[in-house]
Subunit: 96 residues, 2 copies
């Protein structure tokens, strides 16, 4: 099972990502992705969904038209693990 990252490791991982920040009051990370329209937002989500399903590690995410807000945390570990960093990095690459 993936283990929760130490604060130092989590800070280092966050610094290597794009626009991800810690969630207030919860051991999780979040990023808002903005696109030009729903079609682009949906394209991003579709590609990210395939990655998530392949990892068997899924995001919490909200979509409102061109905006996608993603929160990542590993339920079994009770916090942010390498799985979350890996999925965040994949999402960054898809959105890039």
């Amino acid at each position: 099972m993936a283990a929760k990252l130490t604060p130092d490791k989590r800070s280092a991982a966050l610094a290597s990502l794009h626009g991800w920040v810690e969630v207030d009051g919860r051991d999780a990370i979040t990023r808002v992705f903005k696109f030009r329209n729903f079609s682009e937002a949906w394209g991003f989500m579709s590609r990210a969904a395939l990655v998530a399903e392949g990892m068997d590690h899924h995001p919490e995410w909200t979509n409102v038209y061109s905006k996608v807000e993603v929160t990542l945390s590993t339920h079994d570990a009770g916090g942010v693990t390498e799985l979350d960093i890996k999925l965040a990095r994949a999402m960054d690459e898809i959105a890039a």
Copy 2:
């Protein structure tokens, strides 16, 4: 432009849908859809996304693994219109 439904028309429309309720403190309707897993939830969202894009009327929705929470309101009208009822009905049919 779609006009906001009167309270009577909205109540009648809600009664004809499955599990949709009014949102507290906001002129909008909401339903939680539950599936067996992420794959099924994603299948529902993908089909609903095609309908929404075809209508040029989009949901606000949150997905957490097998659960999809949808909120519908028509931004331009400042409340629930026939567009929302139509999209809600399509989502009910997809999920049925």
